[in-house]
Amino acid sequence: MTNDLIHATAAELAAKIHSGEVSSVEVTRAHLDRISETNGKVNSFLHVDTEGALAQARKVDDAVKAGEKVSPLAGVPLALKDVMTTEGVPTTCGSKMLEGWLPPYDATVTRKLKEAGVVILGKTNMDEFAMGSSTENSAYGPTRNPWDLERIPGGSGGGSSAALAAYQAPLAIGTDTGGSIRQPGAVTGTVGVKPTYGGVSRYGLVAFSSSLDQAGPCARTVLDAALLHEVIAGYDEMDSTSINEPVPAVVAAAREGLNGDLSGVRIGVVTQFQGEGYQPGVLRSFQAAVSQLKELGAEIADVSCPSFDYALPAYYLIAPSECSSNLARFDAMRYGLRVGDDGTRSTEEVMSLTREAGFGPEVKRRIMIGTYALSSGYYDAYYGSAQKVRTLITQDFQKAFATFDVLISPTTPTTAFKIGERANDPMAMYKADLCTIPANLAGTPAMSVPSGLSDEDGLPVGLQIMAPALQDHRMYRVAAAYEAARGAFGGPSL
């Protein structure tokens, strides 16, 4: 029974809970049990909110018993990335800086989940302040990839994706600044979606890079991701950058895709994202996916987006610049860590000691890069130029989308690498986000759907599907059709 419950999809669980076949409490307990069994190995959860989860589950069960109409994912458990504020529940962002902080408010995403009856199991591990591609930068130890515990689960949202792969939760929330949802999805064999920028409110998402950050759904199936997408998306007056447009009909699109027909869908293969530096098994998996999409009726051709070659350097100026400002607030004055306040030191010394002790090396590196890039005399050369690249990338997308409905590429150049392998080589680490960054810079939606396992190492590979802004449904349709054609590829033995 427990085994069935933890392997079921969110859609299946919702149907069973809403029909009264199982209770949300049973489903929730099954997942809580799974977490206690496996979290010691995976370290995907930083905080498990047993009480809160069971209370929410009981509420849903009562509503079901009373015959009330509940929302589509009511009673289904979810893992929430620890970058989203939760009232009265620890929110650390994977940093010592916020150890013990209890936010006085819920993020809009948190609020929407609660209102939809979704059961929040707890908060998942992440690279500190979402800066990283391996979850090794967490102050609370790395998360391990359930497919191979010696390997990274991707990052920054490694905790959320590992929780899905380890069957600790059927749903998770991630945030994606340069690939932090899609790259972990790819290397853990799960689905991860970065919606259109502004599609999901950022209120309560602790900012890394405000103009790039976007929360999105993570799941083991495309339909589950779509169901979660519709729960969390929508205009929010608390976020000035949120888009006041109807939420794209992603659930309907995913269901349509399950018909298995992609006739007339024009798909562009981004030529920049293949060749040197790409693991052969990843490319073979990608080619197999292309063949399957063709069989589904899609028209496929190559498309060149030359400015994408400059996406990585532009990203590593814009994101650090914004983070250097966003993270200035961690100064020991109002909340979080305070170091050196012994009555003899000045405010500035306490601020400095706290930031020295509270931030990890990658966060410090990015704050320094960003501070430098924004300095007077350097602004135009660095931040200014990076913004121009951003415009060029947006234009390349626009040109490509004039011909194609969606674009595809591998999600990451390689499968999951070993823990520690790239820890001392930031450039190698940054390249994990090579294919995912352009969509963040352009604000367009993109997702990763598993394309099976690499034939050389047996590790999961991700197929990235990108769509124009506000056309999120297009990629869900393609992903769902592909997912059905691809079939099952097994799961980790944990």
């Binding site: 000035s240 924004l374 931040y383």
Partner: protein, 500 residues
């Protein structure tokens, strides 16, 4: 505490140097809510009670622009004859300070909402100087630090500091002038007159409380000296903490004499922030910074650009009220005042009060006479501004009405005003409590007259003999007996009737 500073005689300063001014005024808007969140925008209150995740800069919080603040900014820009940006953005000004919750201030940098304007400023003698406005931009205020312990009340040397974030996020408009050269001897006066004119303008627009004592209007005065010999622009200092109109004038004058002395002794003026000390009337350097400040401005990614439509701007132009200079011209014409009289009224800060008194029903002459004579004396005696006297224009109008109806004599009216000033209540309440009614009961007056005539039989005889002017002595005695509450004219009539 303050080290002795060399100053140059003011006449000598003017002989050798041309002062150049630059004035930055920060105005707190009195919108209902803060610039970027829904917290109440109120002065005072228990510390840290008007706060929320956004104005405390909590992780994850986001700003949302207060539309009313944008509207006020545009109206201010229009009243200052500025161009209004068709598209502009907020920018982050990054620096660390404990009373700034995010350690950056959301402000505007190279894209202000209003720019290139001017304000005509009338000096005490009636001369009008046009001050050019560089820009007016929107930003948020910081919290307040209270430094406890230490000698200066400043952060240096304090034992600990208390932080109040009620003010954090209050909407501010910063209005910056272009360089103001060529004012010579009158530079300090120009500075004061500019801030005064700006204050009156903002008051007329009803966008701010413009209380310098409460910090809702704050002025930073930039001063530099150009040696007449070389004509080269000197190094400027920026004096902060200038909390009254008088202080603006004093601070500029002090800086001129100080900088001149530095230059004359062969030294160089340090470009720095200085603090004005109200009690000594001097400025002293702010804390020395080890490194040059680099605010690392960049466009605020949490907010979308502001693009006020031309239709909206024109609609707001239509809502501009009568502006102070327009009003002055109208009043001068309506009340038939000479330039000189008008100027005196303006300089005494009496114009608003007089107009309000007229609006409350008094005639302009009567209203003017009360405010510039008796009430001005009272303000002077108490050492307060006319506007700070605890009496309202409506109350003054009521007193005038009581005089005109014969219920009070001028003397009783002054006593009624005194009562109001002492906090005894409204004019009617004071009249009641102090028993200030004119004695209009003829029988009481007749009795008093008879007593006075009986007491002075020789005078009574003179009146009966036709020496009417002798009646004055009897009237005086009656007025004395009735403690001034009688109408002297009526008393005289009765005296003459009794002796006829």
């Amino acid at each position: 505490m303050t080290s002795l500073v060399e100053l140059m005689d003011y006449d000598e300063v003017i002989e050798k140097y041309d002062p150049v001014l630059g004035l930055e005024v920060h105005v707190e808007l009195h919108t209902n809510t803060k610039m970027f969140c829904g917290c109440a925008n109120e002065f005072g209150g228990e510390p840290n009670t008007h706060t929320c995740p956004t104005c405390l800069g909590l992780p994850g919080s986001l700003p949302v622009v207060n539309g009313k603040a944008v509207e006020s900014a545009i109206r201010i820009g229009l009243a200052l004859n500025c161009e209004i940006a068709e598209w502009c953005r907020f920018a982050r000004k990054n620096y660390f300070y404990p009373d700034m919750p995010k350690n950056f201030q959301t402000s505007q940098y190279d894209e202000p909402i209003a720019y290139n304007g001017w304000l005509d400023v009338t000096l005490d003698d009636g001369e009008v100087i046009r001050v050019e406005i560089e820009r007016a931009h929107m930003e948020e205020d910081t919290g307040k630090s209270l430094h406890v312990g230490g000698a200066t009340g400043r952060i240096h040397g304090a034992e600990h500091s208390l932080l109040d974030y009620n003010r954090a996020g209050v909407p501010l408009i910063e209005i910056v002038t272009k360089m103001i050269p060529g004012t010579g001897r009158r530079a300090p006066e120009v500075a004061r007159a500019y801030v005064t004119a700006l204050r009156d303008l903002l008051k007329a627009l009803d966008v701010s409380d413009v209380r310098m004592d409460q910090g809702s209007l704050r002025c930073d005065a930039n001063v530099s000296l150009t040696p007449k010999a070389t004509g080269e622009l000197g190094t400027r200092t920026e004096t902060k903490n200038v909390n009254s109109l008088r202080s603006v004038e004093r601070a500029v004058r002090f800086e001129m004499t100080r900088q001149a002395a530095v230059l004359a002794s062969g030294g160089t003026v340090t470009q720095e922030t200085r603090h004005f000390d109200e009690s000594s009337g001097t400025t002293s350097p702010g804390r020395k910074k080890e490194t040059a400040e680099d605010y690392r401005y960049f466009p605020e990614p949490d907010l979308v650009p502001i693009a006020p439509s031309r239709e909206w701007v024109e609609e707001l132009r239509g809502t501009l009220p009568e502006l102070p200079w327009e009003r002055r011209a109208r009043i001068q014409k309506e009340w038939n005042l000479t330039d000189e009289v008008l100027r005196d009224l303006v300089n005494a800060g009496a114009l608003d009060l007089i107009e309000a008194t007229v609006v409350a029903g008094a005639k302009p002459d009567e209203a003017r006479s009360w405010w510039v004579s008796y009430l001005a004396q009272q303000a002077n005696a108490r050492g307060v501004e006319l506007t700070d006297l605890p009496i309202t224009p409506a109350q003054v109008a009521r007193v005038i009405e009581l005089v005109n109806s014969g219920a009070l004599t001028n003397k009783l009216a002054r006593e009624a005003v005194n009562g109001v000033l002492e906090g005894e209540g409204s004019p009617d309440e004071v009249v009641e409590k102090r028993g200030l009614k004119v004695v209009s009961d003829d029988s009481a007056l007749e009795k008093a007259v008879d007593e006075a005539l009986a007491a002075q039989p020789d005078v009574a005889q003179k009146i009966r003999d036709g020496k009417v002017q002798a009646a004055g002595a009897i009237v005086g005695a009656v007025m004395k007996a009735t403690k001034g509450q009688a109408d002297a004219a009526r008393v005289r009539e009765i005296v003459l009737a009794r002796c006829s």
